[in-house]
Amino acid sequence: MTPMRIIKLVLFLAVPAAAQWLNLPTPGIPRTRDGKPDLAAPAPKTSGGKPDFSGMWIPRDILPCSPTDRGVQCTELPLTPQLVNFAAGVKDGLPYQPWAADLVKGRSKDVAYIDPHMRCMPPNFPRAWAFPETIKIFQMPAELVILHEFNASYREIFSDGRKLPEDLLPTWNGYSIAHWEGDTLVVESAGYREDSWLDTAGNFFSSEAHVTERIRRPNFGSLDIDVTVDDPKVFTKPWTVALHMRPLVDTEMIDFYCQDNNKDLEHLVR
């Protein structure tokens, strides 16, 4: 083989390898014989014996491509039930105070225009659990960090024993602490902004909200989150919704800066 042929061969072999940066196999995960992730395998454990939630996740449940089910015009984009109605699965819907029910009803015709998300504002948890963009969890003994592709944002959950501080600065994600109850991580959050949207329907909670997320990983392929919202300013009683995530492997996080080249605002119509 001539040197030029060797160079060409090396180049030929190098191109596919370089093109596969996004598809590098995720190390250390259980796989079936055909190389796919073994979703039924036991959940990984930390050195402390707790379930390890680390990894990339996306919502498990996808609505069929039907405008009736989605409540929005149909596209091929995978949408979860809670993205279009965070109360999906909540019996009798959200228990709003009358003024809050009127507010949601009154803005229903304008949601496509006034939803903060339409203007590329942060997704904010717990709403972000239902977004189609990927999240990535890093679990450490004293803190859980969640990266979110949308606007390349982050969320911190402190599990070092601290209490929820008083007089918190209102933020999109609130301030989160956590403790373990068996194999369940119980996350408590407060300090939200006023009128925190929960979905594309305009459901919301207020700055008075206390949100509890009970997170479990029953096996490798499941992350279950029960979100309970206690907000006496907006609701007549606390309510809980169940969300389910599935792992995303052999890929990486990719920037999604929503305001990079957003040409949609001029097309939003009332």
């Binding site: 093109a19 996004l22 796919k36 996306i58 996808i62 491509c65 929005v72 015009q73 149909c74 596209t75 091929e76 984009l77 995978p78 949408l79 993205l83 949601v111 496509a112 998300h117 339409m118 590329c120 977004f131 189609p132 963009e133 990927t134 592709e149 594309t200 995303l248 492997v249 052999d250 890929t251 990719i254 920037d255 999604f256 800066y257 929503c258 305001q259 990079d260 080249n261 957003n262 040409k263 949609d264 097309h267 939003l268 119509v269």
Partner: protein
């Protein structure tokens, strides 16, 4: 055209090809197919979702940007005057995971694009599928599977 039809067409196109080429074409089809529509950050109220239109022309520019990719394509109108249309597609993170790259559609490529037109009559719309002159269909992608 439904995604099922496009998948079927894709299978027909690839039926007689070698396995390697077939994989490449399928990857490209899934990739481009992902350009269906925008992410959830805006609604589709701006588009005529009940109807589609087809235009054929030459790629002028490809914006590989967030929150949407944009295909700018030069199309001759009925009077023969060339006009530029802007077709909105899925975001790079969505497309990259389905095999697309920023070079999947290049300047100068000839394409026929099926899209949902803008309601306001502007020269633009929301990408549904595309076809190259050699018959390669760049169709809608099925709902997210492994990635």
């Amino acid at each position: 055209m439904s995604s099922r039809n496009i998948e079927s067409n894709l299978q027909k196109v690839t039926m007689n090809m070698t396995a390697t080429v077939r994989q490449m074409i399928i990857a490209a089809g899934l990739a481009v197919g992902g350009a269906s529509l925008a992410l959830a950050h805006h609604s589709y109220s701006a588009f005529e979702m009940a109807g589609t239109r087809v235009i054929t022309g030459t790629i002028k520019k490809m914006d590989w940007t967030n929150p949407h990719t944009w295909i700018w394509i030069d199309v001759a109108n009925e009077q023969g005057v060339v006009e530029t249309w802007g077709i909105e597609g899925m975001s790079p993170n969505y497309l990259e995971r389905r095999g697309w790259s920023r070079n999947t559609i290049k300047v100068g490529d000839k394409l026929s694009i099926t899209f949902h037109p803008l309601k306001n009559g502007d020269k633009g719309g929301s990408f549904q599928s595309a076809q190259r002159p050699n018959g390669e269909v760049l169709g809608m992608t099925p709902p997210i599977s492994d990635k």
